[in-house]
């Protein structure tokens, strides 16, 4: 359970469930501060609520990552942490090889030995 704020992933940490106008409402909160604020609003309105902690232990790797869209984020999330780390490692390796090739090319063109 997460949301995107701009490009950034924010994991939901709590749900606050209450009933208003005979409709069950669920507020998702990204932090304790967020949860406290929702609870305060409901308390001020004298609305009873139930707060539940969401266990995100296995999803912490995903928190704070940046993507161009929710679809892209969801695809990475669904593949899981190992696939994400492998892809990240592969990308770093590719970048390093590309950098090395660029350096070699410049060395050859400028007749400098490295």
């Amino acid at each position: 359970m997460f949301r995107m704020s701009g490009k950034k992933v924010e994991l939901y940490r709590y749900t606050v469930t209450y009933t208003e106008n005979e409709e069950v409402m669920i507020e998702y909160c990204i932090s304790e501060e967020h949860k406290n604020e929702i609870e305060q609003v409901l308390t001020d309105k004298e609305i009873t609520f139930e707060t539940t902690l969401i266990d995100q232990t296995s999803n912490e790797w995903f928190n704070g990552l940046e993507f161009d869209s929710y679809d892209e984020a969801l695809a990475v999330f669904n593949k899981g942490e190992q696939a994400y780390l492998q892809e990240k490692q592969r990308q770093e390796l590719t970048d390093n090889l590309r950098l090395r090739a660029d350096i070699d090319y410049l060395a050859v063109m400028s007749e400098v030995e490295i």
């Binding site: 995107m4 967020h34 929710y70």
Partner: protein, 154 residues
């Protein structure tokens, strides 16, 4: 429409309207499109200081254009719920009055709620104070929305 009403302007199951040049301040909902309201244009309105939503599209409201409106200091500036294929561009939705001391953590600029909003375009809006929040759905495009003083648009 500047008194404590439930809605400033409310369209339900209504299509092909143009809502323009209105001021809908200090209500619960400034302008609300609901129940499959489609192909409407909401432009050049001012919806400030509403305690729930500045502009709200809900319940399968689709193919609407929301552009050039000012929705400052609402709980949600522009809010989409179960609504698809809408275009939201060029609006100003400042969080609070624009400084962190003046807004709450539960106050948003543009918010796509739950996983049932699809294929909406959210672009080139002034969202100072809080980036566009997307809770789910597919095919939504949120880009070029200014939310802080950096040059880096999300």
């Amino acid at each position: 429409m500047q008194q404590q009403q439930q809605h400033g302007i409310y369209l339900s199951s209504s299509s092909n309207n143009t809502v323009t040049g209105n001021t809908c301040n200090n209500n619960s909902y400034g302008i609300s499109l609901s129940s499959s309201s489609s192909d409407n244009t909401v432009t050049g309105n001012t919806c400030n200081n509403n305690n729930s939503y500045g502009i709200r599209l809900s319940s399968s409201s689709s193919d609407n254009t929301v552009t050039g409106n000012t929705c400052n200091n609402n709980n949600y500036g522009i809010y989409l719920s179960s609504s698809s294929n809408n275009t939201v561009t060029g609006n100003t939705c400042i969080r609070g009055i624009g400084t962190p001391e003046d807004y709450t953590i539960n106050q948003y600029t543009i918010f796509l709620s739950s996983s049932s909003n699809n294929y909406n375009l959210i672009s080139s809006n002034n969202c100072m104070g809080k980036a566009v929040v997307v809770e789910g759905g597919t095919g939504n495009s949120a880009w070029g929305n200014k939310f802080d003083n950096t040059d880096d648009l999300p």
